[in-house]
């Protein structure tokens, strides 16, 4: 297996830092000047930092908990350099999202409810990105918003996904439970529900379906979202990248900017 040198910046999410330690055969820590790949935090200005790293020779930059930012310049620099930028919002790579997408792929129409609980200390922009990413992974990108209403405790909105499915969104700010995304699709074929944890060191996601055929529960998957995105980082650099996260981001930005609350 190819070992990549990795630098994890001070502001990178702790969940990703500790996950790097669980890849002793894939990554070896190195200083920022010489590392193959870099992990940075996603606070404001991350696109400029990632651009600099790519221009200085980084083969890939992983951005943890990114806020919404215009990434067109970064996209151009990355394409010219043949490098990659991976985005890791909370819960981004939970295996249950792919399973949910596979279950939803067999149904059309209906209403998808996505309710996300975020902690009071979380960044609103990063939370918005996390929700939009969950929707994209579970079904398809959010194409249009119809109505939004929000205050300091959260927001709700209605809209439509690229798949044509209607969606109702809610973000609730609370410390009563650990951050989580709860999705439910009520379709003609039945009801599919998923509880996706958005913090590490959490029990695996719950995924279940009720239909005329009975009730089905997915087997719990113990691969954490942070470990999954690091595995993708390694595969992206050492193999063929399967998708460009920056292309996905560009499609999410217009909607993300509409989703705002005081």
């Amino acid at each position: 297996m190819t070992v990549l040198t990795i630098d994890v910046a001070e502001d990178a999410p702790e969940r990703i830092r500790t996950a790097v330690a669980t890849f002793p055969r894939s990554f070896r820590t190195a200083g920022p000047a010489i590392a193959d790949v870099h992990v940075i935090g996603g606070d404001g200005g991350w696109t400029a930092r990632a651009t600099s790293l790519i221009q200085e020779g980084s083969r890939a930059v992983l951005v943890g908990d990114p806020v919404v930012e215009d990434a067109r310049e970064l996209h151009a620099v990355t394409a010219e350099a043949g490098a990659s930028v991976l985005l890791a919002p909370a819960g981004a790579e939970d295996p249950a999202l792919a399973s949910l997408g596979a279950r939803l792929g067999g149904s059309n129409g209906g209403l998808l409810e996505c309710r996300l609980i975020a902690s009071r200390s979380s960044s609103r922009s990063a939370t918005t990105m996390a929700m939009l990413n969950v929707l994209r992974s579970a079904d398809s990108p959010l194409r249009e918003l119809h109505a939004t209403s929000g205050n300091e405790h959260g927001l709700h909105a209605t809209g439509r996904l690229e798949s044509g499915r209607d969606v109702v969104l809610a973000i609730d700010i609370s410390d009563a439970v650990r951050p989580i995304a709860r999705l439910r699709v009520i379709a003609s074929v039945g009801v599919i529900q998923a509880d996706i944890p958005l913090s590490e060191r959490s029990r695996p996601a719950l995924l279940r379906e009720n239909s005329a055929l009975g009730e089905w529960h997915a087997e719990p998957a113990y691969l954490s979202s942070s470990r999954a995105v690091l595995a993708r980082l390694h595969a992206t650099v050492t193999g063929s990248p399967e998708r460009s996260d920056l292309e996905v981001l560009e499609r999410l930005i217009p909607v993300a900017r509409e989703l705002s609350w005081p």
Binding site: A21, E200, R201, S202, Y222
Partner: protein, 338 residues
């Protein structure tokens, strides 16, 4: 910073202790690792910039090592723990501490003269949610009339591989028949026997086994009584499907249920549910820190406080486990002879 040396670099070290110690990098640094296999020792040491060798003596002589994690095969635990204590090192020994009373006696003597602490890594006992739940149970004055532990798990490698990149392991050799029930209790039930002991209302009461059987392909069922408390231990390993690991305590007026995640995965603590007659229920969801974090933080505190000898009833817990396993083994022997 507390220096850690680890002897035995199998899946428990790679998937449990190294990820845990990486999370606790503010307190610990792994400085020296030992395995009988040189390639394994080097492969584990290199990514974490630790010294390595195939010599346990070399590890004990390393002054940077403050605490030794004994993760070697069970048969070596007594020797490794005693040597570590005699070298002035703190010890965190994986379960089982020892498989017999002779080993326990030797450990008791070594611990009595130790200048550093000795702990056993029964992580359920150091789980923060479990500790809080048992405190609440006891504070209510509950006396368990029944204690049940049920452990149903798929094969371990499924969880090891979710936790870290585990080095390829040698294929298991064909077994020579079913493992002894006694050994199964001292390697699996051992995770929860310290909690069973803490929940027993009358520790002086005699132990009576009423049933003990091996359940193919890998499992057991043990029923017994300790005073007025019925105890049931059940296990079934290697089954497909999701894990289910539960400890229940029942009294005439309360029910405590502890639900544990499988070993190796780092998905937070157990959950607890304490229900009382009259309808009041206290539930605790999983906390981010688990029993692995708990046992290492306990060790850090013990070293800072200058604690010495066996901590937290480690030897009493080991004695209880051996007594129960011996009694169950004798019951099986008598049943077969009858």
């Amino acid at each position: 910073m507390i220096g850690v040396g680890i002897v035995g670099l199998g899946p428990a070290t790679q998937a449990i202790h190294l990820p845990t110690l990486a999370r606790l990098a503010d307190e610990f640094r792994v400085v020296n690792v030992v395995d009988i296999d040189e390639a394994t020792a080097r492969a584990v040491a290199d990514p974490i910039d630790a010294g390595w060798s195939t010599s346990f003596g070399q590890l004990l002589a390393d002054e940077r090592v403050d605490v030794v994690a004994v993760c070697s095969p069970h048969a070596l635990h007594v020797a490794h723990v005693i040597a570590s204590l005699q070298a002035g090192k703190a010890v965190l020994c994986e379960k089982p501490l020892t498989m017999d009373l002779a080993g326990l006696a030797a450990l008791r003597e070594a611990a009595g003269g130790a200048t550093a602490p000795l702990m056993v890594g029964w992580m359920h006992a150091y789980d923060p949610v479990v500790e809080a739940a048992i405190s609440s149970w006891s504070a209510d004055g509950n006396r368990a009339s029944a204690l049940r532990v049920s452990t149903v798990l798929p094969p371990n490698h499924r969880f090891e591989d979710a936790a870290t990149e585990v080095l390829p392991r040698a294929p298991a050799t064909a077994g020579g028949g079913e493992p002894a029930l006694r050994e199964a209790l001292l390697t699996l039930a051992i995770h929860d026997l310290p909690l069973v002991r803490r929940l027993l209302p009358d520790l002086s009461a005699p132990l009576q086994i009423t049933h003990a059987s091996w359940r193919a392909p890998w499992g057991y069922l043990v029923l017994g009584r300790i005073g007025e408390t019925r105890v049931e231990l059940h296990a079934s390993l290697g089954q497909p499907g999701g894990p289910a690991w539960t400890l229940e305590a029942i009294s005439p007026t309360a029910s405590l249920t502890l639900d544990f995640p499988p070993s190796y995965v780092h998905v937070g603590s157990a959950t607890s549910r304490l229900a009382r007659a009259g309808g009041r229920v206290d539930e605790q969801t999983a906390a981010p820190e688990d029993g692995y974090d708990g046992e290492w933080r306990r060790m850090a505190a013990a070293i800072r406080e200058g604690a010495v000898g066996a901590l937290d009833d480690a030897l009493l817990d080991a004695e209880f486990a051996i007594a129960l396993a011996d009694a169950a083994g004798r019951w099986v022997g008598k049943a077969r002879a009858a």
